[in-house]
Symmetry: C2
Subunit: 343 residues, 2 copies
DNA sequence: CCCAGTCGTGAGAGCGCTCTCACAGGTCAC
DNA sequence: GTGACCTGTGAGAGCGCTCTCACGACTGGG
């Protein structure tokens, strides 16, 4: 038997449902789409017919005429390595998936780290396969967002576009405020030599947190001291190494504002290796409040980023935009200091 | 101005490309699809025209006629909580994303834990929005797979269908072999009272690993001793609690085969709390070899699951099936023992 | 020199759906 | 009674693409 079912689908078209229900295709379509101007008898007949032959609307056909796909892309402009090891991304993915699913839409998940993958994605999105894009990118690089918008694909960015690009939609946490908050707390609790181990400074999150630190130092009337600023990164290793360097240069530090929780774990390791007691000798504050922060030994004092809010807010902005419900262009969500055992 | 761009797309159709290139729609289509029987002059003209007006094929239209969508769903039949905390899922997602992207296809990521979400997904998939499904489910529950297959959607499961369901496609790790391997190693290194803290027994992975333990115990000519089997779970907490119970009941254990790495971390905590030294007093072997296993203190001896292979193998099976390249129905991938500091 | 066999091409028929439009049949105000 | 207005319905025109089929223009073997 060469005869075989056509790859995947088993027919059952609207036409058949209509015939079986004794109505026109138009009426069957109205019922199935839940339109209001249909008689009860027609509605019942169509529903029954659809049930009997296990009808499922063909989405491609619908898409073709409506111009909508009812799916949203979640695009991570990062290497997979990073994406899958950073709790931040996972939290965003989770809350976006949640928000999107609750609207009855589907989430198309893609990682694009190489230029060729980005090209392919733009073509994919422009081809109408998704109605909009949630772009997760820590790089200042908003080129991708611009390309998508130019191709007619509404996009909302998580992070902050580098050059205050008007007309780009984005959602960000108040990183500046968080850096300031942490620093102020340390100064207020009597620390005298408050240093910082920054995150990656080529990303707005890293740069903004550092800016917050600087702002607090200045507001306290202290002189900015560049030897107290160690350039690090968001990973545990980066935090460890930067802290080790800092300790050599400035053995007198008694507090460190670190750019991320993972980096703070590394910083604590470096402190311990240098024979310093955390809290007693040197206070440490992280950033993010990932789950491990609470489980860490000692439990990490940190600035909590509202990851779930970030994801749901950006999703809502995108959906509002798709529905032409005049949405905000951007949102900066507040962070809060979570006091635990390290500061 | 009421006039506004039609939601998302900005036209540029094949028709326009063809007109601009001075050929028919058919020829333009041939060029764009990379067909071979086209003259060089026509090809160049079409390419140039497409470039000039930034043409992107409309995927819905293509889908409608070809019956293919060029996207694959990654469906997790689990609660989000679990999905996002278990490195296993993340590893699978990552390798599937990799494999799918390298074929130029898109991955549609969905989590369906509630019945209503499952229903919606089946309708979605049956509606032709994806060509096939990679189903990740640790439950024996293969109902979902059956429903998808019945709806004409090719599906490959990660795990093992409970009742050796013929005609269902799946990929699994050799959990039985892994359980045996770990147990044999402990016996061979002179341990006398080898216990096990199982994973969740309602999942094939948990049950199979236990079966491997039993097989090794019997093969060694020892009597099966049910007091050495503590029913646990895959999480750290479950491992901790089951181990604590085990220690009360059988203070004489000198080795434990644990159902997962996370659970093994819990087990080690329980041992330490009970004043036992890991390795010196009690050897511990985990299962999975997640990243944290190597970074753990002490580094965990464990059975490595080939997570990346699992993901790429299942993707390949699905793609083979879609291409009618007679694929295998199932694959059981080998595991290996990774010796570190706990056994 | 003719006919079979390529090769490149265009015409045109859909794929399955939505949506506009026209219309029949009713209801209501005057 | 007549016009204005609903309300439910069907006919039919596409959406943008692929793919079959037929056809003209070449080839080359006899």
């Amino acid at each position: 038997m060469t005869q075989q079912t056509r790859a995947g689908r088993n027919a059952a078209t609207l036409e058949e449902v209509a015939a079986r229900a004794g109505v026109s295709r138009a009426t069957a379509s109205r019922v199935l789409r839940g339109a209001s101007n249909v008689s009860d008898s027609a509605r019942d007949a169509v529903m029954a017919a659809a049930q009997e032959i296990a009808y499922t609307p063909n989405r491609a056909a619908r898409s073709l005429v409506t111009g909508r796909s009812d799916s949203i892309a979640f695009l991570v402009d990062e290497t997979e390595e990073r994406m899958f090891s950073d709790p931040f991304f996972l939290g965003m993915l989770r809350s976006a998936q949640d928000a999107v699913a609750s609207e009855g839409l589907q989430l198309v998940f893609t990682v694009a780290s190489r230029e060729e993958e980005r090209d392919r994605f733009v073509a994919y999105a422009a081809g109408g396969h998704v109605d909009g894009v949630l772009l997760i990118s820590l790089h200042g690089n908003n080129d991708l967002q611009r390309r998508l918008e130019n191709a007619g694909v509404p996009t909302v960015l998580s992070g902050r576009p580098v050059r205050r690009a008007r007309n780009l939609y984005y959602v960000d946490a108040d990183n500046v405020g968080g850096g300031r908050l942490a620093t102020e707390h340390l100064l207020a609790s009597g620390r005298r030599v408050v240093a910082t181990v920054t995150g990656a400074l080529d990303m707005s999150a890293g740069a903004d947190r550092l800016a917050g630190y600087r702002a607090a130092i200045e507001a306290a009337g202290l002189a900015a001291d560049e030897t107290l600023i160690a350039s690090g990164g968001f990973t545990s290793t980066a935090g460890h190494d930067a802290t080790a360097r800092l300790l050599e240069q400035r053995p007198d530090v008694d507090a460190i504002v670190v750019g991320s929780d993972l980096a703070a774990f590394g910083a604590i390791r470096a402190l311990q290796q240098a024979g310093r007691r955390v809290l007693d000798d040197v206070a440490v504050i992280g950033f993010d409040d990932i789950r491990e922060a609470a489980e860490h030994d000692p439990p990490l004092t940190t600035v909590r980023q509202p990851i779930a809010d970030l994801g749901s807010t950006m999703t809502r902005m995108l959906l509002d935009r798709l529905a032409d419900r005049a949405p905000r262009r951007s949102a900066v969500l507040p962070v809060e200091l979570v006091l635990r055992a390290t500061a």
